[in-house]
Structures are given as structure tokens and as C-alpha cells.
Symmetry: C2
Subunit: 580 residues, 2 copies
């Protein structure tokens, strides 16, 4: 069944779910129902929390969990990705909307819809223009640095809500910390109690509860899944206690308040709103981050069951889901990492599970919103803090640094940039720096003079191995594509290597060269002319097929002639040192 | 003697000329004197012309040809580079100063000094911080596109001066063409006659005169050099005729006018001027282009005599020369291509030739400036047009396109960008585009499944060669560094390749991998874990030394163990397919 999804019929390409449903049997159906239910239990409190994180009313998170995942379910190529509101996108929404709305809640809400629509359109454009490769430019270290920075920032913002301290919204991390310190006297003991008990319970549910349940004989996987449903029970418990003690009135605890019942009728009114150009850069970044987050988890899960993901169709599916989010009156959505993991571990086989989740969240929106009135916001903050805490990866920074200083710098700068300059600025700084560092690296290619490992046909670096060499023959291996950023250096190094007057033949070994651009070709032509004008001959060995295909017909290849291009270094040496 | 320059004494490093002078004999001295004289004859009319091109008074070009080349002579590592005013930098100066000065000639002049100083400081900074590699990002195609575009633009601006048609300064190419057409009635017949005769004579001196002289028995090289001195004779002839017919008064021909005698006393007054920040971006681009132009010709000439160029010291030397230009009251300087060629071909051995040239130009500034009053500007325009005409390389665009579509696009876009958007904008567009195209290319690496060429130890692409393969063994050669821009694609391709259920062992051949970054390492770790979780084993072969050095100590290497890393693909096959 898994392979069938890759047939070329149009519906299989653009609506993969239909193919799955036709092949689903009863057992799989009930597995999807169970997984969908568990994911819904995890999702409902998260949805409320993440919309508060985005600075939006709590019900907006529920809206983001119904229509968008249903659209994704029909169009996405991942069978287990759980699409909905996610923490990092939520904080990016807040970062974009606070300056945009300038305190006007209506404008803020409209801005959120514009962001969803723009995010969707950008994703659709990237998908149809097959520009998915552009997202590759966010390297792992930059993404980790960004996520860690964003998570630290989120924890910072939630510290205020957890303790009742009042701080301004949408400020930089430094200002936020300053405000926390300055306004520390505004804390509210009751809020802090609710908040800290919730944090403790949620942490206990992560690991200790799992251990206890496993010791009680429950399978570890089931125990983990049960642990993940804890947020809902914490929320229910908090609502009961808050009502019991009349927390809002007696202790001045901030609560969620009245939440409108049901779901809004999908609407295209947002199309008429102003501010599209202003929000475009932020939407571009949300689109990229949302896509990268989604595709990473989708790939991991797909490979576990040896299924395939189509990166371009993923862009289109997430794009449609975000346009649907705008129509459904809600914020941008993405595939959440931990939620998708829970969905997968709970046994989801197809996107039917996501549809069950969406139906359950929709039902909750109709039936239970009136229960949320007395829910202390601090409890939602606790859910956010515990959820994003695991995104903070300081250990990873050390690992990256020890493996690659350049990547470590990029990761650290991104992290610090997110905190010091802001979410989007930090991301852009990191991406730019990673590119410059990469180009710096390839601009200094590794060039090795090689010799023959005695008694073999292997050629190795003369400085690393004991090898045979011949005074009249220079064997040079270039370990990098020859392209504009490194041609000057390759040229200089070759110039320096041929200064030795005993040399009559130079063999360039191209085993590490997958590509020679026009600048590289011109450099090779120049070198060949310079060498032959001083009586030296240039040869090539181990040229890869694609490189050779391009060299045919060039002046350079004509000057060399077929006889100076060898399949292997050994063949070149046999020819040039007949006695060898 | 050539090798001595590379000794490590400080004076040899920062003042290489002194070492040369100590070793110069009489014969070399007289060769330098001859070459310096010929170069001066070429330079004087060019210097006058290029300062007009930059929108500056003609004497400024002479100033640029005295102190700056002397400073370079002492500090530069090229023995034959002729430093002074150049056409492309001149037109960049005009592009920067027209909007800056806004019609005020004093501000325009001060701006030129600031540009020289900034160019110098930027170059010094790049030299001392060893940032020369940054200039590598200007690829050959972009540079050719830029030079061609700039040359076409220059020819366009000179068409007006050649014919006496009045056009606005500092406008885009389209506006310029429009103005030429609109104001065509303002042409001046006498000016056009002077201009066109000068153009014809200069063209004749380039090739036909050389042929005639060669036929008369003069050595071709000497004939070429004699041809290059033509501009001075054209200038002298034009002055004589213009005085004879009283061209300025009777035919309203624009002439050079009064030129102050002598050289200005070096001054640091420019330091107090305003507008440094505003001119910084333009200076950055002039610095990069001036450096790239200088270093290219310096390298070509140095290699012809097997000498070395130190790219970082070149940055410092050109930087000092430009700071000197600011002190000497003139515009930015660079090593000119054709002028350096003439200097070299005329037999220059050391920078003493450049010092002789500078002395002669200085003498001319004291003795002959009064003769220039009646020189028609159209003749200087003719010199510019004929000099830059050879920079126009449309044929090269075709060549580039046929070798590499991406480079062809970058070259064409740069050319069109320079004409449509402006000199600096076109350059930036081209550099950015070339980078994106390069990254696009490396983001889609060539990955080949290989097999053994029967009876050999060579492994080649199964689709290009007839090779042995084994169903349980997948041999994959990755022909690119594994880094963030291509890890997603490498991962996807590997996923797809291992879907075949007969495979038990996967060997990744790293002969084309010179570098694995953190993203790549994480991808490899993931792949290894995924494979081993499904019972497959991952192996590496032909890992280069620098890559292996980094992999030691990583979790990935620990999981693989030494026994799964093979020196050659053959060794891996021997182990995994014992019967082979």
C-alpha cells in the first residue's frame, strides 16, 4: 500500500488521502480513530495556549486546529503530520503584529489573517515554482540556534504571565527582562501558585509519571502517550479549583474569560484588509520556518514506515492549509513536532487520524468553550513553558562548536541575534552568516599533492602517507568544485606548485570536482596556456562524467586532446612514467 | 633573483621594490627607463581623458598618474603593474558623484577625494584583515558582464562629447540614449569632424598600422608598442590643427581650456570634508572592482616571468596608492589592463619603470599644460571610446551561455542591469544572482550509483558504464560536499535508493566529498540510525583525510567503527562480497 501513493494519477498527486482511504481496512480505521482522539486531547490546551502566545484570543487557536488540518489531510503527502498552531510561528506572529497593529486589537486580528493568507500564498508559490530548495539555506545549526533563541524568548514572555507580573508586549528580550525586574512588585501570589503547580505537574507527567506507569505494567509507549494527555487534566483541574475558590474575583487572577461558542463561518473578508505589503517580509519568514519545521518531522516519520514525502507538494499542501487558516479566521499553521510524534506513536496510519482530531476539536469548540471562562491564563503559560522548554538546546551548541567552529559561530550568533535583535532579525543574520562562512570555506579548497601508495593503484597525499613520487611529474588533487569563489586561490596554488624546475608534466586529479564553472574553465585555460608556453604539459585524470560532458567542445578540451585526459591517475602515471 | 622577493624580512614584505633595486643591473635599468617612457606617452592622453570621464578637470588625471603609482611602486608585489586612472573606476566615480554633488563643482571635487580616501582605507582594511577572498565572489562572467555594460555605457556618454550633442550627466543609459535622440539637433559639425577623424586614426593605429610597420621590417612587438603611442600624436596633431583654425572661437568646439601648471602640494584637507558615510557604498564597490582589475592583470604578467603576487599585500599597496591619490588631490586609481600590458611588452623589469613614467608625467604637468588649452575635448572622447571599445565582449556572452546556462544568465543580467539600473546596481544584482545560482547548483548534487568496471578496481556510474553490481550491496558516490544546502536532497535521494528490499549494505563513496558540515553530519547520523533500525548497515569508503579528521570522535564515527570505513571502494567490496 505504501508504494501506491506514488502513482502518477492526478488525484494521487494532489489529493493523496483519497487513495489511502480506498485502501484502509477496519483495523487501520480504528487505529486512526484512537490516535486522532489522543492527539485532540493534547491539542486542545495547546491550541488555547499558542493563540495567547500569538497575542490572539484563545478561541483562535481552536479555529486553527479544525479547517487547516482537514485541508492538509486531503492534500499533504505525510500520513502522520499533525498540522495546527505551533509555538515558534505563534511568537513570530506576535513579533510581526505588535508593531503593525500599534495597540488596536481589531487591526491585530486582521493582521493575523493577512499573515496566514500571505504565508499560504508564499508557500503555494514556492510549491508551484518548485523553489523548495531555497529553504535549504537554513542550516541545521542556524535552525537550532533560532529555535533555542525563540524558545528562550517565549519562556521569558511567559514568566510574566506565570507570575502575574505585567510587562509590555512585543519588546526585545533585554527590555522584557528589564521590565520583569522593574515590575517584580506587581506579582500576584495566587497566579504564581496556579502557574508553578501547573508547571510542576506537567513536568512530572513528562518523565516521572511515565516511569511510574511503566512500573505498574503499562507498556512504555502507552505510558508516554498517557503522559502527553496530562495538559488536558491539568486544565480541567485548574478550572475546577479556580471556580471553587472564585480565583478571578477573590485573588485577581487573570483568567481566559468568555470564549465565543462554535466556529466562525469561513470568510474572505480579510482579502479587503490593508497592510499586505507591510506584513510580507514577516510572512515570508513564517512560511520558511513553518515549512522547515513541518518537513523535518514529516521526513523523520515517513522514513520510519518507509514512505515518501514530496517536498514540493508539501509546500502546496501547507500553503492551502494556511490560506484555509485565513478563511477560518485564524493564525498561520504548521506541522508541530511533538504533536506529530504523539500522533505517530499513538498509531496513526493515515491523515484520517488528523480529521478525527479536527472533528473532536470542532466539537469541543461547540460544546465546552463556556467551561473555559475561569481557566487561569497562568496554566496556559505553564503549558507553553513546558512545551517549548525542550526546544532549548544549549548542549547542541557545544556539540556544533566542537565539530565545526564556523557552524558553531553561526548557531551562537543566531541564538544571540534572536534575543538581542529580535526573532526575524536573528534568523536573517544567522542565514546570511552561514552562507558567508560556507563561501569562505569553499574559497579555500583543499589541494593535495599526491603520490602512489607503493604496490597499489591508490594515490594519497604526500604529507599524510608514505608514497612514491617522480621529480618530473606533479600529481595534484583538487578537492573542491572549481568555481568563481576559489579560482583565484586554485590558480595561485597551482602557480606555486609548478615553480619547481624539474617538473615537465602536471596531472590535475578531478576525483573531487563535480562542477567547473565558467570562471574555473577560464582559469584552467589560462593555466594550460601558461604551462605550455613554458614547455610543461597539463593532463587531467579521474574527470567525472558530468564534468567531462561540459568540457567537450571547449577550447580547453581541444587543446588538451583526448590523449591527455585519463580515466584514472594510475593510467596517467603509466603513460607518463613508462618505467613505473 | 625572482625567488629572493619572497624572503621573510619586513622590508621585502612591505617594500619589495628596495630588494629589486639592490639587484638591478645597468641593462635592466635602461630597459625600465625605455618601458617607463613608452608607458608615459600612452598614459598622458589617457589620464586627461579619464578625468573628463569622471567629470573632473583634466589635470586631475595627471595628478593620479604621479604620486599614487610611486607609492604603489614601493609597496606593490607586481613588478610591471601600471597604476593610475582607469576608465571603469572613472565612470563609477561619476555615477557616485553626480547625485552626491548635485551640481556643485567644489563638492564634486571634494567628493572625488573622499572616494579616493575611502577606497584606500577599505583596501587597506581588506589587506590587513586578509579579506581578499571576499573579492572572489565576483565571478568572471559577472565581471565580464559588468565591464561590457560599463564600456557600452561609457561609449554612450562619449557619443555626446564626440559630436557636440549636449546631454545631462549621471543619468541612466536609457535616459542618455533618449537625450541623444532628443538633442540631436545640437550637434556641432566641427566637433564631430575632430572626433571622428581621431577615432579613425586611433583605430588605424591599433591594427592596420601594426601590419604596415611589421611589413616594413619592424618586429611585431615593437610595432604594437609604437601603435600604442598613437594617442599622443593624435592629441598633438589635434592641438596644432585646432590652434591653426582657431577651432574654439570660430567653430564653437569644446576645448580643454586652461589647465593649471604643476602638481598640487599633497594635503590632508579632504579629511575634514563631509559626506563620508554617503559615499561609502560607492567606495566599497570601486575598491572591489579596482582591486579585481589590478590583481587579474598583475597575476597574468607575474606568471609570464614566474614571479609571485601576494594578494593581501596587493590590497595594502593599492590602498596606500588610493590614500595617496586623496592626498594628491585626485580620483581613485587602479592597475590598468592595457597600460600594464604595454609596460610589460616594452620590457619593464621592475617598478622603476613606473617611477620613470610618474616622473615624466610630472614633468609634463609642469612643462606642457599650457599647450592643452586648445585641445578639443572630442579628441579625448575619441581616446576613451577606442580604449574602452575593446572591453565590450559580446562574443564572451555567447561562449559563457554555451558552456554554462547559469553563468550565461548571470553575465547577461549583469550587463543589462548595468545599463538599465546603473553601474553599481547592475554589479550588485550580478554578484547576488551568481551566488544564488551557485547555491542552487550545489543544492542539487550529483549522486551516482556505481559498480565495478570488470577486471579493474575502478568504480563507475552504472548508467554510464558497463559494470558489475551485487543485489545486496548499494554503492553510492556523492559528488559534492555535504552541507546544509544539499543535505535534504542527499537524504531524500538516499531514502529513495535504499527502498529496494534486497539491499543489506550501503557504501557511501566520499571521493567527491571534501567537507561535511554539521547539518551533513546530523543527516548522516540520522541515515545510519534509520538504516540500522531496519537491519541495514552503512559503510564509508574513500574518505579524504580532512573529512576523516573531523569525523573522529563524533557519535556517527563511533557507531560506524573503524571497520566500516574503508580506504577504497574495492576494499569495501572485497570485505562485503567475499566471493567477489
Amino acid at each position: 500500500m505504501n508504494q501506491k501513493r506514488c502513482t502518477n494519477t492526478t488525484y494521487a498527486r494532489f489529493l493523496p488521502l483519497l487513495g489511502d482511504i480506498r485502501q484502509t481496512d477496519k483495523a487501520e480505521f480504528s487505529q486512526d480513530l484512537l490516535a486522532g482522539t489522543i492527539t485532540a486531547i493534547l491539542l486542545i490546551p495547546q491550541a488555547l495556549a499558542y493563540s495567547l502566545l500569538a497575542g490572539l484570543p484563545p478561541e483562535v487557536g481552536l479555529y486553527a486546529s479544525v479547517l487547516p488540518p482537514i485541508i492538509y489531510a486531503f492534500t499533504g503527502t505525510s500520513r502522520t503530520l499533525a498540522v495546527g498552531p505551533v509555538a515558534v510561528a505563534a511568537v513570530m506572529v506576535a513579533a510581526a503584529l505588535v508593531p503593525y497593529a500599534d495597540g488596536d486589537p481589531d487591526k491585530y486580528m486582521t493582521g493575523a489573517l493577512i499573515l496566514s493568507a500571505l504565508t499560504g500564498f508564499i508557500m503555494l508559490g514556492m510549491g508551484f515554482l518548485r523553489l523548495g530548495w531555497l529553504t535549504n539555506f537554513i542550516s541545521h545549526p542556524v535552525l537550532t540556534g533560532f529555535t533555542t533563541g525563540a524558545a528562550i524568548f517565549i519562556v521569558g514572555t511567559q514568566l510574566a504571565a506565570l507570575t502575574g507580573i505585567s510587562v509590555p508586549r512585543g519588546v526585545s528580550f533585554a527590555v522584557l527582562l528589564q521590565a520583569l525586574v522593574d515590575n517584580i512588585h506587581t506579582y500576584n501570589v495566587a497566579t504564581a501558585i496556579f502557574g508553578s503547580i501547573a508547571v510542576v505537574l506537567l513536568i512530572l507527567a513528562r518523565q516521572p509519571l511515565v516511569v511510574v506507569l511503566t512500573n505498574l505494567g503499562i507498556k512504555q509507549q502507552s505510558a508516554v502517550i498517557l503522559g502527553r494527555t496530562a495538559p488536558l487534566f491539568v486544565v480541567i483541574g485548574a478550572i475546577l479549583i479556580a471556580e471553587l475558590v472564585d480565583a478571578h474575583v477573590r485573588f485577581d487572577i487573570a483568567v481566559v474569560g468568555l470564549v465565543p461558542q462554535g466556529l466562525p463561518v469561513p470568510s474572505l473578508n480579510f482579502m479587503k484588509a490593508q497592510g499586505w505589503t507591510e506584513l510580507l517580509p514577516a510572512a515570508g519568514m513564517i512560511a520558511v520556518i513553518a515549512y522547515v519545521e513541518s518537513i523535518s518531522v514529516a521526513k523523520v516519520l515517513a522514513f520510519r514506515r518507509r514512505q515518501k514525502i514530496d517536498p514540493d507538494q508539501e509546500f502546496r499542501a501547507l500553503g492551502l492549509a494556511n490560506v484555509a487558516a485565513a478563511c477560518a479566521g485564524t493564525m498561520p499553521v504548521a506541522g508541530g513536532f511533538s504533536r506529530s510524534m504523539v500522533n505517530f506513536d499513538a498509531g496513526a496510519r493515515t491523515q484520517l487520524a488528523a480529521i478525527f482530531t479536527a472533528i473532536l476539536v470542532g466539537l469541543a469548540a461547540f460544546l465546552f468553550t463556556n467551561l473555559l471562562e475561569n481557566l487561569p491564563k497562568a496554566v496556559l503559560s505553564a503549558i507553553i513553558v513546558v512545551a517549548v522548554w525542550q526546544l532549548i538546546d544549549i548542549q547542541g551548541l557545544k556539540h556544533t562548536w566542537s565539530y565545526d567552529k564556523g557552524d558553531g559561530i553561526a548557531q551562537g550568533v543566531t541564538l544571540v541575534g534572536v534575543l538581542a535583535l529580535g526573532i526575524e532579525q536573528g534568523l536573517m543574520l544567522g542565514v546570511g552568516l552561514a552562507l558567508v562562512l560556507f563561501l569562505y570555506r569553499t574559497s579555500r579548497p583543499h589541494i593535495a599533492v599526491v603520490g602512489r601508495v607503493k604496490g597499489s593503484e591508490h594515490y594519497r597525499n604526500i604529507y599524510r602517507h608514505k608514497v612514491e613520487t617522480w621529480p618530473q611529474l606533479l600529481l595534484v588533487r583538487i578537492d573542491e568544485n572549481i568555481y568563481f569563489a576559489n579560482t583565484p586561490r586554485v590558480e595561485t596554488e597551482l602557480h606555486n606548485l609548478v615553480l619547481d624546475s624539474t617538473i615537465t608534466d602536471v596531472v590535475l586529479i578531478f576525483s573531487g570536482v563535480a562542477y567547473v564553472d565558467t570562471s574555473g574553465l577560464e582559469m584552467l585555460e589560462t593555466i594550460e596556456q601558461e604551462l605550455s608556453s613554458t614547455g610543461l604539459r597539463l593532463h587531467l585524470a579521474e574527470v567525472k562524467g558530468p564534468v567531462l560532458d561540459r568540457l567537450y567542445g571547449t577550447k580547453f578540451y581541444e587543446r588538451l586532446g583526448e590523449e591527455r585526459v585519463y580515466l584514472s591517475t594510475e593510467k596517467a602515471v603509466e603513460k607518463l612514467i613508462p618505467s613505473s
